[in-house]
Amino acid sequence: MVLLRFAKSVLRDQMDDWSNIPIYLKATGLAEELCSQFSLYIFLFYFDLVKEECASCP
């Protein structure tokens, strides 16, 4: 999300064209320590997402 926020901030003047701007994610060696934090983050993020969807879907 930090990276996405950064991309949005850099490209804020092209907001109307965001859907045409490709975004790539290239993962590197990355230490296991970071991976475990990353996995936890993904998990928490999905938890929030599911909560949102549950709220809007009867």
């Binding site: 994610l25 993962a27 320590e33």
Partner: protein, 305 residues
Amino acid sequence: MRELPLDQREAIMQSVRSVLSTKSLCPFYFRDNFARVISGEEEAVYAWTSANFLMGRLLPPLKGIGDAEPINSTYGIVDMGGSSCQIAFFVPTQDISEGLYKLHIGAQKYWNLYAKSFLQYGHVSARRRHLQAIADETTSVQFDSTVVPRALDYCFHAGYSENVLNSVGTTEVEVYGPAVPAGDQYERCAEAVKALMRKSEGDFCVKAYHGECSIGGAYQPSIPVEKDSGFLGISSYIYAWTFLRMPSTASLDEFRIRAKEICSLSFSDVLLYYENMNLVDNDVSDYLPYYCFLSTYTLSLLEGK
């Protein structure tokens, strides 16, 4: 990510792709193949490209067609991350027996680069290899299972200790620095760090490639001498350079003198030293207990021994 087993790697990447495919979160144009784990060679080449672009060495030689003009000097890069480290440099003679990466930029020009990545040679993974070797050695002999076994490590600052699991994950060992800084602490740490370079695996390389070898048994062509050029250390090299307060063009001998001074600090002195640094831009506090190791390892990596 490259250190993880394939199934875990894929599971994480699938989660990432799902996030980036969700329009409410990622409004940009995304396809599944836009997110992937890159190879070590690609990582090396990206570092080389970024560094030379920023130093203004990349674009001028790209006029015309064919291979880039060798008269334009470029910087080689050494890149140290947490997990892996990379080296990449341009070889004007194009004499590269292995690890050649033809980097195309623009329509018709290309660079012949040597690019090599060493997995588990990043400073976090290297420290883990070092500590696990100590834990494995300690638990390989009989010990009293009612108490946590202990092992002395001269790469830890005096007064610092932490618990480390052995590589099979069955036993914890308390690894501790000496009670007071040892006079030859740097030398003792350097001796232990040597094993991490896995130079002994280079015997075959030396024979097969007539001595054109680096660390871990890897082939590396001779480094070309270019005018107005050299190597740039990037990523985690910054931590060591910043913490040791080295000028950006310090020699390895100058670096060694400072590394010896840092290794001779107790952990409480390290904390005090850091407080007095008053850093504004570079926060190097994450690795405070490990600066003796990091300095020694950095030097060992740069010297290849």
